[in-house]
Subunit: 305 residues, 2 copies
Amino acid sequence: MRIGIIGAGALGLYYGAMLQRAGNEVHFLLRRDFAAISTEGLKVFSINGDFSLPRINGYQTATKIGQVDLILVGLKTFANQCLIELVRPLIGRETAILTLQNGLGNEDLLVAAFGAGRVLGGIAFLCSNRGKPGEVHHLGEGRIRLGESTGGPSERCQRLAELFSAAGVPCEASADLTRIRWEKLVWNIPFNGLCALTGKTVTDLLQHRPSRQLVASMMGEVISAANRQKIETRINAEPFISRMLEMSDAMTGYQPSMMIDRIEGRPLELEAIYAIPLARAAAAGSPMPQVDMLYRLLSVGEPQI
Amino acid sequence: MRIGIIGAGALGLYYGAMLQRAGNEVHFLLRRDFAAISTEGLKVFSINGDFSLPRINGYQTATKIGQVDLILVGLKTFANQCLIELVRPLIGRETAILTLQNGLGNEDLLVAAFGAGRVLGGIAFLCSNRGKPGEVHHLGEGRIRLGESTGGPSERCQRLAELFSAAGVPCEASADLTRIRWEKLVWNIPFNGLCALTGKTVTDLLQHRPSRQLVASMMGEVISAANRQKIETRINAEPFISRMLEMSDAMTGYQPSMMIDRIEGRPLELEAIYAIPLARAAAAGSPMPQVDMLYRLLSVGEPQI
């Protein structure tokens, strides 16, 4: 399969490398890593075993990639104003677009430009970061859940899930993309923002009772809002929150991506993880006051969207 | 008048110096500044004109000060576990104790130990900070409002107000200490905590619309709780908030004391400014959810009280 990777940060580089190692023809749109990867290839340092890909198809402009069968989008959402122009040159008659970006609104942008029939979304449970140019570090997890932007089961979804699974990336097709996106937000909304705001890790927040209670309470707000969206089955708040906290207790010292973005002086993914979910929650009659306060505090000093 | 200063930080040093310059016999309990002040005296750099006091009565232990007519308390509230033992040696038959500390609960500690008849409280509107040892910087404002811990007007209150006014510190006696303490909290609760948490100044928060709205909304929570306390006249929320915001707009780049405490690695005054007001608000049936969230986030990583 001919695959184009748009947004080759830690996520795009890792999944692209796994897909290429499994025999797919992968093309990477590169920015920071172009020079290093062109001369030295890509090195993957992974908890599942390191490997190198000495030859990578790397490009500095999307037009040079040409049409592909699958476009994998890993762009940071704060760069979404470039999303459509980066994706467009790769679109052929049968091209599918899978966005693994954070939060809400990404499929909508793609659907508006290219039609719902082309667009899938997915949730990546991946702990990874970029090292120096030409390197990517896979620190934990890696599985993907994906679904059609229109919802419902599809053969294409199954095929893509098999593509990833065959490449060593556990992947599950879901018939309810809205639900899995909101499920992920139950984790992302409290932890990404609170860690970025306070400079404390997931573990710091969970080991201090007042902030642990706050995390749980914010998860409750997100679940209430999720259950007012068009999802097939409600999320059962209490066991879901318990499971999330338990899973997070095992992430010793973990720094969510937004915390790293702030530490390293990058913009934050506020639109996708906060503004759009807040708007959809309010529209569904289930406002999220604690999430709203967090968003207001995160946005001080950020570039206006 | 023989005056003892307990807690000679920026506030204690400044007011003590003003009172001494006006001819009072002032005794300072010193810690950090003892050596510098003993050899070189105290230098005051003030927007109203600099001055020096070459001879200061400085002590390293409270017992050496002996009995005084007035004890002025400027101790940081996170050191309140030492408050009673520091004050006790200065108490004579007629001694009055005036605490200018932040937040709530300080008069109660003093009343429990020494009786309500001795205790007054006050609010200082003072922008000051310590420079190097032996120096204090007066950057703005300086006025005081004070009242009896028991409430109601008193001759003693009037005399103390005149004492300060005569020393160049505008001072007003109030018959309702509870109300003026809560009025001050309307400013302190949002700005101290939000600035400490975000690392942004008062001006940063006010110039960004979402955080300005949050500040106003938190002020509203504090006023609602204040109006449920035993105060003589209600605070009229809308004009009070407008006036507070307008006054704060003029504080260009101001860093509240709690923000400086956090930057310099000191503990925060969470008990007096958050925990006790939250408990009194909840007890009065007017919980403050946004204030509660702020308190939970500020407390992560703080020493447990």
